[in-house]
Amino acid sequence: MKRNTMLAAIGAAALAMAGMSPVMAEDITIGVIANLTGQDVNTSVQMARGVEIAADEINKAGGIGGKTIKLIVEDSEYKTQEALTAATKLYDVDKVPAVIMFGGSSLMIAVAELAKQEGKVLINTSSSSAKLGDYPGTLFSILPLDDILGKELGKYIAKKGIKTVATVVPNNTFGLGVADAAGAAFKEAGGKVVKSVAYTEGQPDYRADMQSVVAAAPEAIISAGYGDDSRTIFKNARELGLNVPWFAAYPSIFTVENDAWMNGKLSGVDNGGYSNDTGKAVLAAYKAKWPGEEPLAHIYYGYDALKVLAAAMAKVGEDPKAIAAELPNAVKGYVGATGAIAWDDRGQRIDPPLDLIEYKDGKFETVGTIQ
């Protein structure tokens, strides 16, 4: 955590300085909102760096129609109110046509509402709540929503021959979205959900929740979650002797509690496809610019966000309405760092490259892909 905080501070300072450089008349300004202080700082910083890599690349190649891209980065502090303040400043004061944002679903939805009212564009690089599909023409997601990923997860588990599962997810839009989508797909394939747990985040233990799972005796667990809470869930499960496989949406964001116990037990569906040429180029650019710092997958989402935005702007200029109309066309044929991007009519990503990953010997291994 300490290291993350440090990175965040350095990142925030660097980004703040980038934001302070004078904006020329021939510049195109694009807003970035991320959590530079507060929770999830490192992932936000990584996303913002991905945007920066894309901006460097585009500017080096002559910018958009001869104009240089200038990024204005604002901090949302992982608070809805701060995110709205940042968005208002970017849309109204800096007059940016589009904002690239990293934040939790609740922050993203609030900003999407504002962008819709103002007729501006918002590119989502982080949130996967199915509710984000309610802003067609305003919000475009680089990340596939939970319903898509959850569905793949449910189908995958059913294919393994498992008949009964319990769902264990945090009681938030992300967790419930995964549980609903995966559970529905699993039932459709003939399985049975014997217990659904939606736990409250931030509790010191989940003994009672996990005991109810043990009592239901499922063959496997469908899960989603992250951070300290996921670690506590695993601890309680291990102590209660719940030795069944865990299938998760985004297993890589879990915090594993006990390497030996978890070894070979945890697998699931995660975003993938970074191993193509674009992804490799982004990774190389990252390593050149921030040598010695560990990259996270979030850089690819930041990178693709600006790339598709720039592609649309290159065609239609800086009018947000025109950009929104052009974006679905702009992604056609674009193979980004996160793979080929295709959107449904909600502006939400469909058929994303998904990896099947498994926890082995203390780290995740890609064991297959779903395309």
Binding site: M1, K2, N171, Y199, T200, G202, Q203, P204, D205, Y206, R207, A208, D209, Q211, V214, A215, D228, R231, T232, K235, E239, L240, G241, E257
Partner: protein, 293 residues
Amino acid sequence: MLQVLVNSIVYGSEIAIIAVGIALSYSILRFANFAHIQYAVVGGYATYAGTKLGLPIVAAIAVGAVLVGGLAVLVDALVFSRLRAIAPEGKMIVSWGVALFIRAIIASVFGGSAIIIETSSSTIQVGGAIFTSLDLIVVLATVGFMVLLQLFLYHTRHGSALRALASNYDLAVTRGIPGDRMIRLMWFVTGAYAAIGGSLIALETRLQPNMDLIILLPVFAAVTIGGLSNVFGAVIGAFVLSLAQNVVIAVDFGSLLGGDPWFVPSQFRDYIAVLAMVVVLVLRPASVRPANA
């Protein structure tokens, strides 16, 4: 239902060992010490630090208990001893200030993220109830420390002197019982017990700076149910509210009312503690009457 009972005993044990200290200090000094909760949290972190320095867990808890006992004495010397003459409400508010100060120090030393103390425990299954060997140790440790406290308070000269001070302070000091020195002893014992309780909770759950807010309500509810100044009343209070909490979240109210299964979400546990406290106070108002009024 056996599982509910087991859960209640485990949780009640964790709360009880912290609650007795509040009752003990209240009985002598007549104010609710909110900093006590922080002594438990510091104890948990001290145990973590001890294990990081290579101490076995039991030794780490023991060292932590002694250090936190010392901390409680120090806080008294620096703060509470200077405020003996002010109203209990004033002392209570000052104790809250002390609590916030200690909390800020913990957060700055250990950071804001959660810490899990690694333990290896095995699963035990008895008649359909599942618990861990750690649970068993927690309960046995609590029983042991309660017996120890009972022996100290009722069968030693200094323990009896503490009860005498609690029962009638002026009479006690005019019998030659050195009030200030005995109060320091009392703080040491309460601080050490809080640290042991905090360490057990840390082993069972996880350390995080807001652990104080998580244990605050149940601990104070237990002490209040037990009659504030009654040390073993606090233990009974802890088990009463623990049972209430665990029963309420285990009952399928949905099916009882003829609908789909519906349970009270577990995050409402603390409000159930408060509810249990209110119910007990309404049914048994004598329990809050100070012992020697």
